[in-house]
Amino acid sequence: AQRVTQPEKLLSVFKGAPVELKCNYSYSGSPELFWYVQYSRQRLQLLLRHISRESIKGFTADLNKGETSFHLKKPFAQEEDSAMYYCALMESLMDTGRRALTFGSGTRLQVQP
């Protein structure tokens, strides 16, 4: 079965420092990977997805199929980046047709002034 692992529960950095939130997955097909963010007292919202290859709010994530990873990176963290970040996987629609998201356990990012 598919699985998403986020090894860090908490990542604390200072403003201006680089950030890397780790995400590894296990899935035998070609998944679609997402990063969702939940700011304090707000809903889960999509930050970025691997197929769009965008940079959102300075964050990027590259799918590495060899390492089965989808780490989230930002070169210079800002205080407003403090939030809970969830990595999520969707199985290939072409393979299974399933649309359920499998989430990792989340990483809380704290950016200190």
Partner: protein
């Protein structure tokens, strides 16, 4: 910008009682989902719904759970006889559908407390 809405924001119930959690998905979306998050644990998929029927469900979604789209706007999750372990945050989500439009938009959640 359209959003998924959920009511109530917090529901307290006694063990064994039935609860109905309500969601209004984004109006042009075709797929609807329920997820739950027990305190301190992962967000877990419960069920997805398309074209007025369940399209997939997880092992968590047993006979105690049911979903319904009673009209053109609401999407409900019913728990027939609540257990203590049903206490969790329940999130509704919706998506447009289609391989290029499968972003899921989440509601703010309903916190269910079973006493």
């Amino acid at each position: 910008e359209p959003e998924v809405t959920q009511t109530p924001s917090h529901q307290v119930t006694q063990m064994g009682q039935e609860v109905i959690l309500r969601c209004v998905p984004i109006s042009n979306h075709l797929y609807f989902y329920w997820y739950r998050q027990i305190l301190g644990q992962k967000v877990e998929f419960l069920v997805s719904f398309y074209n007025n029927e369940i399209s997939e469900k997880s092992e968590i979604f047993d006979d105690q759970f049911s979903v319904e789209r009673p009209d053109g706007s609401n999407f409900t999750l019913k728990i027939r006889s609540t257990k203590l372990e049903d206490s969790a945050m329940y999130f509704c989500a919706s998506s447009e559908g289609g391989a290029a439009s499968n972003e899921q938009f989440f509601g703010p959640g309903t916190r269910l407390t079973v006493l």
